[in-house]
């Protein structure tokens, strides 16, 4: 809404603007933040005074740890895997480049919910079966200790929480790979040439010259990914992982207090994402100042 208003006022004034006034964004008082803040405060006041709200909040709160830990651990894995695949996308090796492209295209072409089902219920059971039969082979070759460990890997031994984290990480790795690729390509070719001309290897040039600049350029995009990840973590409830969405659903299922429970759920997500985006803004501003 705020964005729209701003656009309209800019458009109508555009003929009067001189060059220096033609900024893309106008700074105005953060009314939007106050509006959202009021909603959050009202909800928390309700939690304090209304027993139904209080009841629902107590139960939903229990899922916060799972939501946050799932998001953070999946995000860390996704960033590392994404960096690796992103480097693959710009690699000189045909094999690595193609494998990375296949990965990104497959993940981007399948809905997240379907991917979560597939990875948790097809891919991981399949992999555990392969690992344990590999263990059997090792035992038959006489490598008993390690073989026995592998053979003991069972589908059941991987919890749904871990599966959820792996699913989110694999999915988001594809997105962050694209972010890293764009970041690497945003650094001018001359930087690579200068580094190579000084005798750095391609990898050294990447590590010391290109990546530091690329990552700085894509930090806002990576931050947005964290926020998206937090929201998409609600999908792990389909694996019965007890995050805030799942505990809300369970609570509603037995209490039928839809309005209370889902309002609280919304406000909880909103609070979390708002905190995150404020943190990211601070980091961004810090980096911008550093660059000047």
């Amino acid at each position: 809404m705020a964005v729209n208003d701003r656009f309209v006022t800019q458009k109508s004034k555009s003929e009067l603007q001189s060059g220096s006034e033609m900024q893309l964004t106008k700074k105005d008082f953060p009314w939007w933040m106050i509006a959202i803040g009021v909603v959050i405060v009202i909800t928390f006041v309700m939690i304090q005074i209304n027993p139904d709200f209080k009841d629902a909040f107590k139960i939903i709160r229990a899922g916060l740890g799972v939501t946050i830990s799932t998001t953070l651990s999946a995000y860390c894995i996704a960033i590392l895997l994404g960096l690796f695949i992103g480097l693959g996308r710009v690699s000189e090796s045909v094999v690595w480049r193609n494998i990375s492209t296949i990965y990104v295209e497959i993940i981007r072409g399948v809905p997240l919910m379907v991917l979560i089902f597939f990875i948790a219920l097809v891919l991981i059971p399949g992999l555990t079966a392969i690992v344990s039969s590999l263990g059997d082979v090792l035992i038959s070759w006489g490598i008993e200790d390690f073989g026995a460990k592998l053979a003991a890997v069972e589908n059941k031994s991987i919890s749904m929480n871990v599966r959820a984290i792996i699913s989110l990480a694999i999915t988001y790795a594809a997105f962050s790979a694209e972010i890293f690729r764009a970041g690497i390509q945003s650094v001018s070719q001359g930087q690579m040439e200068a580094a190579r001309s000084q005798g750095l290897s391609r990898w050294q040039a990447m590590r010391y010259v290109i990546l530091p600049q690329a990552i700085r350029n894509v930090l806002p995009a990576l931050g947005n990914d964290l926020i998206s990840m937090l929201k998409d973590s609600s999908l792990v409830s389909i694996l019965a992982v007890r995050d805030i969405t799942q505990v809300t659903r369970l609570y509603v299922g037995r209490s039928f207090k839809f309005a209370e429970a889902y309002s609280i759920l919304c406000v909880l997500y909103l609070t979390l994402t708002l905190i995150l985006s404020l943190c990211l803004k601070v980091i961004e501003r810090k980096m911008q100042n550093e660059r000047k």
Binding site: S188, G190, Q191, E193, A194, A195, R196, S197, Q198, G199, L200, S201, Q204, Y208, V209, P212, Q213, R216, R291
Partner: protein, 249 residues
């Protein structure tokens, strides 16, 4: 020139195609130690491409480049070691934007030459003093003027103690009043006896600094002569035409 010495750079029958475009077409040349070779020519004549093949930033389609007796095509496994002996200065400076001036210079010293941090810093300061911007050691490239950036780029290349320096239109991206400060530094190198190959449009500089001038057009060497001969009395029709166009104002 003393033809009996081994050349610092030897280019043999070199051609470079970009798809169907022939950028460089059968060029051979030698650059001897302490010689300053200036390559001039209209844009698209292949002079930059030729220069870039000399440290294998551009891979020739045919022919060979031999630097200090080492063939680049036959020694791909140690191309990084060879490159560390060849300084290169680019038209667009290409300073590392995320590093300070000092760090720009010490990066390759530390990674490629494995020189300790303090030692590398000392070398950086020496080079910065030489190009006259020691006071900007802790600035970031974006805080410097174009001329200052290019002088840092020269210092960065010099710090590696190269056997030869390649300049790819080092003043073409500069404001007129900054060209002089860069050319002055380059003249300093000439005085020091640095072997240099320079692609430039600065005819005055070419006259003053070059031992030899090569005029290229359409990927070929059209004329090769001492600067006094080339600028006063060019022998080829194409060179005369080129000179009359750029010197007419």
């Amino acid at each position: 020139m003393s033809e009996n010495k081994t050349p610092m750079i030897e280019v043999k029958d070199l051609s470079k195609n970009f798809g169907v475009v022939e950028a460089v077409n059968g060029v051979s040349l030698k650059v001897f130690p302490k010689q300053v070779l200036v390559i001039i020519g209209p844009s698209g004549s292949g002079k930059s491409t030729l220069l870039r093949t000399m440290n294998w930033l551009e891979k020739p389609t045919e022919g060979e480049v031999i630097v200090d007796g080492v063939s680049l095509s036959e020694n791909q496994h140690c191309i990084n070691a060879i490159r560390s002996n060849i300084g290169m200065v680019f038209q667009s400076f290409n300073l590392y934007g995320h590093l300070t001036v000092t760090e720009n210079i010490t990066l390759a010293l530390r990674i490629v030459k494995k020189i300790k941090k303090n030692e590398a810093k000392k070398i950086a300061m020496q080079q910065l003093t030489k190009v006259g911007i020691a006071d900007k050691a802790d600035y970031y490239p974006a805080q410097l003027s174009g001329g200052q950036q290019q002088r840092v780029a020269i210092a960065r290349a010099l710090a590696m103690e190269p056997k030869v320096m390649l300049f790819d239109e080092p003043t073409s991206a500069l404001d007129p009043e900054m060209i002089k400060e860069v050319l002055d530094v380059m003249l300093l190198l000439v005085k020091d006896g640095m072997t240099m190959v320079i692609v430039t449009h600065e005819m005055g500089f070419a006259k003053a600094a070059a031992d030899e001038v090569i005029f290229m057009d359409m990927g070929k060497i059209v004329e090769r002569a001492a600067p006094e001969v080339f600028f006063e009395n060019p022998s080829c029709e194409r060179s005369k035409q080129f000179l009359s166009q750029i010197l007419s104002h």
